[in-house]
């Protein structure tokens, strides 16, 4: 019983997060200006981080936690660098 509940909840959560990733990447591809693309990339990073956490619940493997922590860190650094690039035109000055 509890295995069934957990299986369906994880499946629905994974489908919802996958649709969210598709929407964020549509915004990243279409987005009329550069800042929209950066915002879409940021949302894509955070959605994939959450998707990996759901994977770790589903498989019971605690290794996915480290992957999702690394993705969160890299997403923060990437978005800050891209915002700096939009602001100044160069990242390291």
């Amino acid at each position: 019983m509890s295995a069934t509940i957990l299986f369906w909840a994880a499946t629905i959560a994974q489908i919802a997060l996958a649709i969210a990733m598709v929407l964020a990447s549509v915004r990243m591809i279409r987005g009329p200006r550069a800042q929209d693309r950066v915002l879409g990339l940021d949302a894509l990073y955070s959605n994939s981080m959450l998707l990996l956490l759901v994977f770790s619940i589903r498989t019971g493997n605690p290794l996915y936690f480290e992957i999702s922590l690394i993705i969160g860190t890299l997403g923060f650094v990437a978005t800050v660098a891209l915002a700096k690039f939009i602001m100044r035109g160069e990242v390291i000055e």
């Binding site: 509890s2 509940i5 915002l39 949302a43 955070s46 759901v54």
Partner: protein, 141 residues
């Protein structure tokens, strides 16, 4: 799903509820990012996924691993704290960069610095006080 059959029912229900809350809020936030019109509307939408979306999924994984390994496991809070701290920083940087670009190029939808005040709606006493305030302001200048 190897250890999932050992879970008690209340834990499975709690995990399922928090998973669905988190994933649903993230989906709503990304839908807003896809759907809203201007950039300054869109920048609000994904924060739904980074606030309660992340919190729901982090709480679900804390409950799952604590029940499975039958001890308190809290290192998933690290992700929640990190995302909570870094999201406002990145979004403030990004919105200031976008505002800078829009002001430099005189873009179409720049948010106003102050809300526009309509002089016809201001009553006479308020107008007088505003005038006196303006006078003192000019004198001070």
């Amino acid at each position: 799903m190897n250890q999932a059959s050992d879970l008690p029912l209340w834990a499975a229900l709690l995990i399922a509820i928090f998973l669905l809350i988190g994933a649903g809020l993230t989906l709503i936030g990304s839908f807003g990012l896809y759907r809203l019109r201007s950039f300054y509307d869109r920048i609000h939408a994904p924060t739904l996924g980074t606030s309660w979306g992340t919190a729901g999924i982090v709480i679900a994984s804390i409950v799952y691993f604590s029940v499975v390994e039958s001890r308190l496991i809290l290192h998933h809070l690290l992700i929640g704290a990190f995302v909570t701290v870094t999201t406002p920083v990145t979004l403030i940087l990004l919105s200031r960069a976008a505002l800078y670009r829009d002001r430099a190029e005189n873009g179409p939808d720049i948010p106003l610095l102050e809300p526009p005040n309509n002089p016809s709606e201001v009553s006479s006493t308020e107008k007088e006080s505003a005038d006196s305030h303006n006078n003192t302001h000019t004198i001070e200048k």
